[in-house]
Amino acid sequence: GRWSICGITGNFTNICVKISLSCRHDDLKEMLDSNKDSLKLEAMKRIVAMIARGKNASDLFPAVVKNVACKNIEVKKLVYVYLVRYAEEQQDLALLSISTFQRGLKDPNQLIRASALRVLSSIRVTIIVPIMMLAIKEAASDMSPYVRKTAAHAIPKLYSLDPDQKDQLIEVIEKLLADKTTLVAGSVVMAFEEVCPERIDLIHKNYRKLCNLLIDVEEWGQVVIINMLTRYARTQFLNPNANVSVSAEGKEDKVEAAALVVKRKPYVMDPDHRLLLRNTKPLLQSRNAAVVMAVAQLYFHLAPKAEVGVIAKALVRLMRSHSEVQYVVLQNVATMTIKRRGMFEPYLKSFYIRSTDPTQIKVLKLEVLTNLANETNISTILREFQTYIKSMDKDFVAATIQAIGRCATNIGEVRDTCLNGLVQLLSNRDELVVAESVVVIKKLLQMQPEKHSDIIKHMAKLTDNIQVPMARASILWLIGEYCEHVPKIAPDVLRKMAKSFTNEEDIVKLQILNLAAKLYLTNSKQTKLLTQYVLNLAKYDQNYDIRDRARFIRQLIVPTDKSGALSKYAKKLFLALKPAPVLESPFKDRDHFQLGSLSHLLNAKAGGYQELPDWPESAPDPSVRNVEVKYPTCSMNIEQSSTEEQKKSTKSKEPKDRSDSESEDEEESSTESSESESEEESESDTDAKKKKKVLLSISINHTLQGTSLRYYILKKWRIYVSFCVALLLKCSFPSPQAASPTCGPLKTYELLHRITGEGLAVTYCFSRRPFTGDPHMVSVQIQFTNNTEVEARSLRVLEPKLQSGMRIAEFPEIDVLPPGEISTVVMGIDFCDSTQAANFQLCTHTKKFFVTIQPPVGELMMPIFMTENEFKKEQGQLMGMNEITEKLTLGEGCRGDHVIIQRVISTANLSRVPCGSAMECRFAGKTVTSGSLVLVTVVTKEERAAQVTVNCEKMLIGTMLVKDILQALSQ
């Protein structure tokens, strides 16, 4: 019925279009809602293709975002792509995905932590700024350098979202700048450049480290670091060329110059300045053009004159690269050749032009060749120019003529040769060539007109043939300016021009007026009438500029009663001696921009450009760069679990010999890397963090996966969502009242006593992280200590004796455990949700030991995240036989929520569920093997009375867990 009404009201077609539009996406929505990953993937692929083509796919947001927690990696990745693209437009909905990433931030796998941070920080929604800030801070002190690198990347993202965070971000940058790994260095300097490039003081303590790490940093990071260090050096060191330039300038009065030099202290280069030059030089050999350019500009701006030469060869090598690279390099070479001509002179021929070069490259090469021209090589260059003039590319020929003009002005010896050459070009068949020659000749003649009246005569004749306005204008100007040298021809030219006046271009008309005025002043007898005629024509010209000029000239030169005092000076005004034009390179003085920069290329300041400071008069205190060297007190050699990682650590020694790093640095960095690889070591620490964060994650996600999500409902959710975010935030900030629970150090159990083990001691603990490779296994971390005098070889697991259904994932064999060393490995055991022991043998190359691992019931589960409502709902379904309740009296030290939480969590691997009541604490988890829910409630009453309830499908586990918790709480 409705549709027909719409049809009647005339909106029918309109609605039809809308329907068909939404219909088109309905199939995609259906696919996204399906249970099959393959359909989801297909839908996501089509959506990404739409985004790539620039088509709007924003209406699919609700359908896409609920797949954010999809198990399939590719679907997940494509959802991320979508999310980052549209989050800004759909802020409310985007918030629903945040909890997924928050969870990812706590994942034991460093790559997952990193990728969660990467996506989270790419979501441009201001409301999550505090969450991002917190995540960045946490990640900046992560064990994994890769996560720290990601944190550095996230800093500029947050800064661009909310510049008010600057101060806090600077703290993080400062922290990351102190990082000693090459992986982080480039990224954090990038962040520094975007957020606080003015805080040069943050660099002092890290300067030497950055110099030493440089060669091992990845290439993009190298570029950023080198550019930043160039600026730094300009503020901290003295100009190595200061004395040189003084003596060079003062050639005439050497005495004075000498006195100046004496007054200055003899220049000694700061060793840190030298360090920078020395450590960047090898990078001239990089395959990356941007790196080579960065080093080249560093040398140009910082090195003593005698050393700059090394960069020329590398820059010339870059010219063989793609034409875009060539274009940028030539621009920079052009600037350099003005200041330091000498260094490129040996490579003159590398700038010779090929007929196949693009015009923009030809013109730049010409610029360089012109800058390189001097008395000795000018004849070679001019001969080369001769061939260029014959080129078919006329724009290039025009540029060559200009270049010849510049050579002629700069080098007096060849001025006449050049002029003659150019005059010959006046008879060229191509008008453009002739016109350009005229313009250049005009400029050259201005330098010494008296010698060249024959050329002026020659040019006067050209007015009959040349039609290019600029050339005609130039000729007319020449004749007018030097009319005394061609007294007979000039009036005749004016006569011809008067005839064609109306058909000329504006610039030519102006010059005709100019010529008329000058002739009237010098030779009024012959030209009075002609001038008046021209002025009359001009009076009625269409162009007001020309009318104005005519009026102005008439007032000035034709004496009348009304004419003022100025007309007396008319001759002086028109025929004043004019200075010859200076033909100079457009690249002159461009080096006040840092070379290699965008601003230099455009010759205009680009946004975000940091000025290259002038050298200081006197050097700032060099001791600010001193760093106390901390020698590592003990160096533990921790063998990694997997063989892969063993290889990695052996490799890690390899590239080190590429770097110049001093020994102490090297030692520091090697302990650093072992630290980072041994994440398991600091188990308790990260675990504590994990526990803390468990509280932060309110799972909106669960609802997300429901298919009943509809956009209009979501709109109503707005308030709810902001409420959730507020909650998230509240939890995210550690408040002093609600001290976060920590489970304390992990309990360590003995597997093999050092006496029974004949010197080999083995302990184990439950690391409480998912076992990689099999989610149904409990991770058991095993630590071997070799207390003997000899090395233990091939430590491995042998002949496990297991109850039916139980499985073991053995740890990789440890090849060698040297005396006194400790090694940690991880193995996985599937206990089948029972507390039965796993029996197996531990072997060395000589002996066998029977050992047993028996898990406490609390270790057979893993935490899950739930809301209060979900908890109540699930609890409602686990009543009767599945519920076990015990009363107890809390122990002496067991007062306050946080103690209870801590004790429960240290007893069992559960996570806390948010709860409205202050008297209750709730925890949730599921068993590792079967995934059965485990729900725990602790209710405190008056005095020290309390009640523990466990709801669990597996009654045995429930009973045992209640017992363990009772014990823990009544202590």
């Binding site: 790559l111 793609h322 007929s355 196949t356 923009q360 014959k390 078919m392 068949r429 975000g608």
Partner: protein, 418 residues
């Protein structure tokens, strides 16, 4: 740094866009199209174009413009080098980098771009890391994926990014362990009218194809390392060792990579393997011109000059040509005035020649300019600079690899002025 990327085809359509920060409207490309219109030739579009709010930095490869949008100061070469790296990666993945290939693989392209930049700053540009993250499409995999709905995305997270040898993945295994090195030299030269060399340089590269298991550590030494005074290395090469001993020591990436590029510029070292005799004349007042060209080998150390191709842009006034090649075939395009002659192999006993007449526009005056002749050729089993590999050794692994070294010389930008 890099805000957005647009891919533009030769007919001026934007066929792909990707944004790493807020979305930039594609209308920003209008400034690019304006510059494109102003430029006479496609390669004359300026690589850097300022617009009121952004800067456009572009590269042209395979007739596709890769236009990056920049908002603030960044070294232009940084962006240009990165864009070329993107093209190289596409080529590596899809075999060719064409509009069709990119459109067919748009999802892989998007996934690659996502991994290569984070917030506009390069993240993973090493091919081996990328290949662990995103598997290159093959026909078989495409078929399997369509049937099973499985993915191109690597199931395992890559370890390369975390390792200190980021260019090599771990756990490489081959049944046949082999390492091939190609020494390829290109001669760039300008020869003047009289046949004397104005400038000549050699651009050499050593490209490697290494398929070795485990973590091999290779050293490569030369008979005459002194030739290499200007080199650039793959990051895997240990610079200190080169400085001290002139030996290339490296843990190679897996697969194909460029180990080294070098530049030999001192003129006396550069042998010119071919000579050209030419006589191209136009007479005043005549509508005919003469064209004579003969090629011959010189300084080839007895090796054959093959795949010779001569091309020349004749003056605009030339209407047509009537030529007679002694071998091979020639074509002349009367519109672009491009003459090209596919010569093949040069036989020293019977030198190839191309002779005949050119007809000019009636009544037009004699052209001012003389055409330049561009020559391409190949010489197998020889490096023109004389560079020779002495030996290749492997450490760190126990098996015996199969090793091979091949030399080749080619013409680079080889021009003869007439």
């Amino acid at each position: 740094m890099i805000h957005s990327l647009f891919l533009v085809n030769s007919s001026g359509d934007i066929f792909l866009e990707k944004h790493w920060k807020s979305v930039v409207s594609r209308s920003v490309c209008d400034y690019f199209f304006e510059a494109q219109e102003r430029a006479s030739e496609p390669e004359n579009v300026p690589p850097v174009i300022p617009t009121p709010h952004h800067y456009l930095i572009s590269v042209l490869r395979h007739r596709i413009y890769f236009v990056a949008v920049i908002q603030s100061e960044v070294p232009p070469l940084f962006v240009i080098e990165f864009l070329h790296r993107v093209v190289d990666t596409f080529q590596d993945y899809f075999g060719v980098c064409t509009e069709a290939a990119i459109k067919d693989n748009v999802v892989v392209v998007y996934e690659l771009l996502e991994e290569m930049l984070d917030n506009g700053f390069p993240l993973a540009t090493e091919s081996n890391i990328l290949k662990e993250l995103i598997k290159p499409p093959t026909i078989l995999r495409t078929v399997v994926n369509t049937i099973t709905g499985s993915t191109n995305v690597g199931e395992q997270l890559p370890t390369g990014q975390l390792s200190v040898v980021p260019w090599r993945r771990t756990g490489v295994k081959y049944t046949n362990n082999e390492a091939y090195f190609d020494v390829v030299e290109e001669i760039d030269a300008i020869i003047d009218k009289s046949g004397s060399t104005i400038t000549a340089e050699i651009q050499g590269v050593i490209d490697a194809c290494v398929k070795l298991s485990g973590m091999p550590d290779l050293t490569l030494s030369f008979m005459n390392p002194r030739l290499l005074d200007d080199v650039s290395f793959h990051p895997c090469v240990r610079f200190k060792r080169w400085e001290a001993e002139r030996i290339l020591s490296f843990i190679p990436p897996d697969g194909n990579f460029r180990l080294l590029s070098y530049h030999v510029s001192s003129q006396n070292l550069v042998a010119i393997p071919v000579y050209v005799k030419h006589n191209i004349t136009f007479r005043e007042g005549s509508s005919q011109g003469r064209f004579e060209l003969t090629l011959g080998p010189k300084q080839t150390m007895g090796k054959a000059v093959e795949s010779v191709l001569v091309s020349s842009q004749l003056p605009r006034g030339v209407l047509n040509v009537n030529l007679n090649p002694s071998q091979g075939t020639y074509t002349f395009d009367p519109v672009t005035k491009l003459l090209s002659w596919d010569v093949g192999k040069i036989n020293p006993q019977k030198l190839p020649s191309l002779k005949g007449s050119m007809s000019l526009q009636a009544g037009a005056s004699k052209p001012d300019e003389n055409p330049t002749i561009n020559i391409q050729f190949k010489i197998q089993q020889m490096a023109i600079s004389g560079l020779k590999v002495n030996r290749l050794d492997m450490y760190g692994e126990k098996y015996k690899p199969f090793k091979g070294i091949k030399y080749m010389t080619k013409a680079g930008k080889f021009q003869v002025r007439t």
